[in-house]
């Protein structure tokens, strides 16, 4: 096959024997492994990833540039983020607690009201990844492993290298470790019967990507399988009166430039208080120029380049003010608010002057994941309306890619779909809040006292 950069890549295809090995694996290989052991293993691997001398990381950084087209700085940053994610053990516990109510629930029975509850792995979790944001692959895999699932990961053609190198780094640290043995990376093209069989056999499916990928996975997954879908989404920013235009421009540039706008959380449109537009755009140009230096764009395909150029030309024809770098590093289009149907990405931002930030409401729906806001006080004024419109997150400008522990991801707590909760309920001797006597239902029926005793 051909990587997005046009480099030919040989990828072993899933064959019948491989499918059999996947399906014959012990789906509960991690079920008895304490969470701390899993987190500790990830930490060991992550500490290696933090070192620029780690051979696997060096290979990964090189491959990200050669095959996925990231710039050297973007690739190094991505490797750094992998190290940070794998070693952020405290954060992992917080995320598990936020998603599942308690981190201990993965290891032990945890009291919850009148029950003891335990979260068991679903079993085989299939991850169908997208190639737009490499770290998303890592997040998906970590989620699958900390919930003790057997993970089969299908990389996207856009990023074949992140899951493969992550899995190889596990092997290099300890090939016999249950976490290593619980991770399989396998590629199959669209329509491949083996891939379909693996997906249909999964106890949980986690899909990232476009509408087509999500629809396919929804159809292929078993009705009783856990299912988590991420995408497609877009994100916007609001800049109200009184913002420090210098600081906001710099923060906005970050949210526009990270991943060259390929992330669901990447800001594509900015609704700006009309009085501040001139100053903001001026400072934004400087900030985008700075980002072209400190985080240069990746290598773009002819489609990426053509999309940006056509968008610039289209907006100029329609009378918008189009400002851009001399090359294709960034584009700022200043125009009245309207839906952007063909956003070209590539660090292109549509700036819409508005009298009131509430004018953005007509252009926001459930397809919007993140709304980045400045100044922060404005977020309090608009969060109720934005929530009703369907957005998933409201963050401060400059933090669009930082998912704080406690927050849902695209409206859900994903770990809940990766576990199976089991309740060990209290016996009759436990009165509970709904009773003031022993729970003897026969006696209650005999006495006809259902409404007296049961609340």
């Amino acid at each position: 096959m051909t990587a997005p950069t046009g480099v030919p890549v040989a990828v072993p295809l899933l064959d019948g024997a491989f499918v059999r090995r996947i399906l014959d694996q012990d789906r509960h290989i991690l079920a008895g492994v304490p969470l701390q052991e899993i987190v500790s293993f990830l930490d060991r691997v992550g500490r290696l990833w933090k070192s620029q001398e780690f051979a696997r990381r060096r290979i990964y950084v090189r491959q990200l540039q050669q095959l996925a087209g990231l710039s050297a700085k973007m690739a190094e940053t991505e490797a750094d983020i992998i190290g940070v994610v794998l070693t952020s053990h405290a954060r992992m516990y917080d995320i598990i607690a936020a998603d599942l109510g308690s981190a201990r629930v993965l290891d032990d029975w945890v009291p919850r009201e009148e029950c003891h509850v335990r979260a068991l792995p679903r079993g085989l979790a299939v991850h169908l990844l997208s190639g737009n944001v490499p770290i998303a692959s890592v997040m998906s895999i970590v989620r699958g492993l900390v919930t003790k699932n057997l993970c089969v990961v299908k990389p996207a053609t856009g990023d074949l290298v992140t899951p493969v190198n992550l899995a190889l780094s596990f092997l290099e640290v300890d090939e016999a470790h249950p976490v290593t043995r619980a991770l399989t990376v396998a590629y199959w093209p669209q329509g491949h019967p083996g891939g379909e069989l693996v997906t249909r056999s999964a106890d949980a499916v986690c899909v990232w990507g476009g509408a087509g990928a999500v629809s396919w996975a929804r159809g292929a997954a078993r009705p009783d399988a856990g299912f988590v879908a991420f995408g497609p989404k877009r994100s916007v920013a609001l800049v109200g009166p009184g913002a420090d235009t210098g600081l906001v421009a710099s923060a906005l540039a970050h949210d526009i430039c990270h991943y060259d706008q390929r992330g669901c959380f990447s800001v594509q449109q900015v609704f700006v208080d009309r009085a501040s537009v001139g100053r903001l755009v001026e400072r934004l140009e400087q900030a985008l120029d700075e980002y072209a230096r400190i985080l240069p764009t990746g290598r773009w395909s002819i489609d990426d380049v053509g999309s940006v150029t056509l968008a610039r030309s289209e907006e100029r024809f329609l009378g918008a003010e189009v400002r851009s770098a001399e090359g294709l590093d960034w584009t700022v289009v200043v125009c009245p608010p309207e839906p952007i149907w063909f956003h070209p990405l590539g660090r292109t931002v549509y700036v819409h002057p508005v009298e009131s930030l509430s004018e953005c409401y007509g252009f926001i729906g459930p397809e919007v994941q993140t709304v980045a806001v400045a100044p922060w006080e404005c977020s309090l004024a608009h969060r109720d309306a934005l929530a009703r419109l369907g957005v998933s997150r409201i963050v401060e400008v400059g933090l669009s890619n930082v998912f704080r522990p406690g927050g849902p991801h695209d409206g859900v707590y994903p770990l809940q779909q990766l576990v199976r909760f089991v309740a060990h309920e209290s016996p009759a001797s436990v009165y509970g809040k709904s009773l003031v006597a022993r729970l003897d239902q026969t006696e209650i029926i005999r006495g006809g006292r259902y409404t007296d005793l049961m609340l």
Binding site: G191, R234, G306, T309, L310, W341, F342, E367
Partner: protein, 404 residues
Amino acid sequence: MTRTDVASGVVRSSLPGVPEIDRLVFQTPDCFRLPREQISQLRPRLIREAVRFHRDSCPEYGSFLGQLGFDPDDIADERDLDRVPQFPASVYKRRPVTSTPPAEVVQTFHSSGTSGRLSSVPRDEATLQRLLGSIRAGLEMLEPLTGEGDPEDNVVLLNLGPPRSAAGSLWFSYVMTLVEILAPTHHYGTAATVRYAEAADDLAGVLAAGKRAGVIGSPLAVRRLAEYCLANNRTVAGGDAVFVMTGGGWKQPTGEELSRIELDTLLMKAFGVHDASQLRDAFNQVEMNSVLLECEQRRKHLPPWLYAVTRDPRDLAPLPRGAAGLLSFVDPTAGSFPCFVLSDDIGVVHEPGCPCGRTTETVEITRRVRRSQELGCALQTERLQAERQLADLLEADPGPRGSG
């Protein structure tokens, strides 16, 4: 309306003269074989005239030229045609852009895209007539396929799309029905389905009657007919009596491009076609007013009035002939809208010199630019499609309140 010059005795018409573009489209036999020098002279003239007209008649285009400081009179010869200001065809998905008063619009046509917003392009009578003229002019390329004698008697066309009465404003379906000008045509499609079994029956019937059959349709529809024939033991030994004309997009429902080589193999097997030259493709889009047909060498020829250039995707600078880039067109046959468009197709414009002997350039369309809309707008698209479905439903069955 005539008057006679008394002195000379010459009778002069007071009707307006036929514009040069119409003389070329309608009154120039073998226009694809005009001498190169003649094409080099007439193209800049026709395009200069068209640019002037749209500058003065289309406020958006006039303002665009003003922004760029472009004067149509700067078009002196063919070398200046690269400089004609063009805009992306996708503009027609966002705004009505027209050079004609609404009263003169015969019909506004729409693209058949399923990926979101549709292009809306208004056409007046003259513009539609010239579209038809461009097809008629190109039909000579099909002559070897239709055999000797009058195609009206010897050829039956099987259109896997709807008849014109059912084509509505869908441009692709409308254009495909225009093959009727070549030979008697049967239609097998509705807006949603194609009656492949009936088409397969008729194909066999036409051949049994000793006539030639032309199968017309989108690459996908033609493929499905071939697959139907193969799966149901209905293949025919067409020999040189069958030809296929495809038009429209090569994208499959999966989003992947159909392979032309694979389609050729399939069609030869299903229809017993002797030679790949019997399998032709045509190129057009709703934002263009000329149809590019393939010659016997399977090369898509530009008509002599149409100018095409590929542009560098990085800065839209014109590229030399033979270099792949974004295809762009300057089509002076459109009167009701400025047809100076940057398409989102990647392709190549080749110098004249086709072995078929025709003197115009040829165009090779490689594929569509993959624009990123899917990443963010799939849900908007879904909503739009749901709205369209609801509108269709309400039209078909408005319910007691709607009808009352």
